[in-house]
Amino acid sequence: MEQFYKIVRFDYLQRTRSYAFLVTLAISLYAAYSFIPAPGSNYTTLRIGDYLGVQNSAWIGYVTAMMSSVFLTMIGFYLVNSNIKKDVDTGVGMIIATTSISNFHYLLAKAWSNFMVLLTITGIVFIMGVALFFARSHGYPFEIMQFILPYLFITVPTIFFIAALAVVAEVFLYRYTVIMNVGFFFFFIATSVLQTNVLPIFDLFGFAQVTAHMQDIVASQYHQKINTVSMGFVFDQKKAFHFFVFEGIRWSLSTVLVRISLILFGLVIVFISSKFFHRFDIKERYKVKKKTKSLESIPQARILNEIRLSALPAITPSYKIMPFIKTELLMLIRKGPRWLWVINLGGMIALIFAPIPAAHQIVLPILWFLQVGRLSDLATKEKTNRIHYFSYASYKPLTRLLPAQIVAGIVLLLVLAAPLLIRYLVEIQFLPVMSIIMGGAFIVLFAVAFGILSGGKKLFEILFFLFTYSNIELVPYADYFGGMNHGPRYTELIFGLIAFLAFVSFMLRKREMARV
């Protein structure tokens, strides 16, 4: 038990004492603020048809708890899904493997520390929810239980399940992080769709009963049967909304048990996964091509031969950027499993045959998101692979290597988008072409800037996921590649952002190089 507690505690501490976590908290704080739209905003986060709740304790408490449940499902998985990998990378896992801790207890400790990280973010959102109540609710009494109960029964079980799912995903997919990341993206979309079926078994987010109760209130107050529940950031023209008074729900024993069963389900999947856990006995990952000699056939204890520098073929100075771009592209292409290229190819074919709006708005962002593993460490891989000792001592690293990495990333995205670009060019539409090129540049520079800033790839992965999901949901402010045809002014805005991100990236890299 002491081992369990210590793993949870130190794991939690080392993860929360990072700059990336601080940035995540800041983003969470902003997200929490946006969960309750200010009067007159052009978006809603929860509404029943054209009906909104008055901003009393129950409405603010429940909406922030429900939004947290969705938000933390969305980003939480990406935030915590490399907990075991860290033990593999640092070698700590080898030490753990020799201790008496059982697989189940180790994995449970990891799930628990994941949960604590997500609970910390939930706490931030909770505090912001209370603050919003005092800022926005005019005259309604403050009822603390209207905050505590929804967080306890809606958010907490959901984040526990996500914490456990992240551990299970790491156990089974530790070699396939791309499948893990992309797979969860589709899992989340599928869950969101199933949520609308209001079947308790698929109610991962835990608010089916709450929205059903809200529909009942609207029906009784306005004598209207409303079937449409809009959850999430929905942007549209300002409407004249009607308001109803929501006073929370009665948490029946059966509802609470359903939510507790989600926690138990999390425990069960962790237990099952412990039977398959590698316990850090990880076989060599890199497969040797059949045609080339296998490593076993090569005597490894071969000694150094004579090297005479003066006898080596002469080299000449060459400050070209192309060899960098070539190698960076090579690494981008080779990264991840080969079958991902089959999916990429499928995406490119879809860009040829899908109707242009769908190809641009839906297929392209998903196809680009599939490259998340390739882009996320574009400018951080030197440090994580400890190549920076060479690259930072190289000739003009700031003006040669970094631009090459950026160019290679953009080339990759534009090659993937090529079918759509060609279709637009055939139709003589240059603005979308420009938008896509700038979208590629934007997301690559976003990866570079946030990678260097946070020192890792997590933050970018989370934000890229949010961008992609928001684009599929047609949130206009997330449209970085012109899928919604905003016109030339929007292109100028994206251009400005690209210039800003490029400037920030170079400054951050310069600072990073001076601080090694």
Partner: protein, 269 residues
């Protein structure tokens, strides 16, 4: 760190316990880290202001370097060559010659991720020699090499030293002892001494002794004297130790670099 050192062609061996600042000093010379104060000049050029001046002629083998696991040896070395700003029509032949030199030709087309620790270390040695370096910095270069490879590596460094400045750090005193023209001993960021091996060893001359003791007396003896080495025999133990004055029954021994290293790092700084 607070000292001044002038380095000329030949091999300077850096010795010091963990945390002495050897790697930091090497990173500063390699333009990776910035010193808080002070200057580093190469042929009169301030390399802190103009780091590219040294980078063109620098070969650096870090202590704890990594590789891109999914590149093969050719691709990795050509990538490093691009970083160093070298190329030309002969680059491929030079890479092949270096791979032959470090005996990795047979495995050169395999991903480096499949290499053993020693093979990665040899890739590190090859990259350091890619650009015809005039300054070579080797930080713990023999880590991961077996005894025969270590011997070969020492020979390689001796050959290279004819036309280069070589700065070499190691925990293994014998690695330095066999090849270094000059030795610098560091501790806690300060330079304890620098000079030829003879000059450094001179500081402990007449203070190194050997004695045979009963096994039971060893613990007590260790508490009173700086013991360098012990060899247990049946009932007795042979002890090599450093002392300002001889102990009854002891005989003076020829001082070695290891004795000087232990004497200086325990008594100074």
């Amino acid at each position: 760190m607070d000292y001044s050192v002038t380095i000329e062609n030949g091999i300077l061996g850096l010795l010091g316990p963990n945390g002495a600042g050897k790697s930091t000093l090497m990173k500063i010379i390699a333009t990776i880290s910035q010193p808080t104060t002070g200057t580093i000049e190469l042929d009169g050029h301030d390399i802190l202001k103009d780091p590219d001046y040294i980078r063109k002629i620098l070969g650096y083998l870090p202590q704890d370097f990594g590789v891109y696991a999914n590149l093969n040896a050719y691709e990795f070395l050509e990538y490093i060559a691009a970083m160093k700003g070298v190329g030309g029509p002969n680059l491929r032949q030079r890479v092949e010659a270096l791979l032959e030199g470090v005996n990795l030709t047979d495995s050169a087309k395999l991903p480096i991720g499949t290499y053993s620790g020693g093979m990665k270390q040899r890739i590190g040695i090859a990259q350091a020699l890619l650009n015809d370096p005039k300054i070579l910095i080797f930080d713990e270069p023999t880590v991961g090499l077996d005894p025969e490879e270590r011997m070969r590596f020492r020979n390689l460094i001796s050959d290279l030293a004819e036309n280069c400045i070589i700065i070499l750090s190691s925990h293994i005193v014998s690695d330095i002892e066999t090849i270094a023209d000059e030795v610098a001993i560091m501790k806690s960021g300060t330079l304890l001494t620098k000079g030829t091996q003879a000059e450094v060893i001179k500081q402990v001359q007449g203070k190194v002794f050997e004695i045979y003791l009963d096994n039971a007396d060893l613990t007590d003896f260790k508490a009173k004297h700086m013991v360098v080495n012990t060899t247990r025999q049946k009932d007795t133990v042979w002890v090599r130790f450093i002392s300002e004055n001889p102990v009854k029954g002891s005989t003076e021994a020829l001082a070695l670099l290891e004795d000087a290293y232990l004497y200086l790092t325990h008594n100074k700084g």
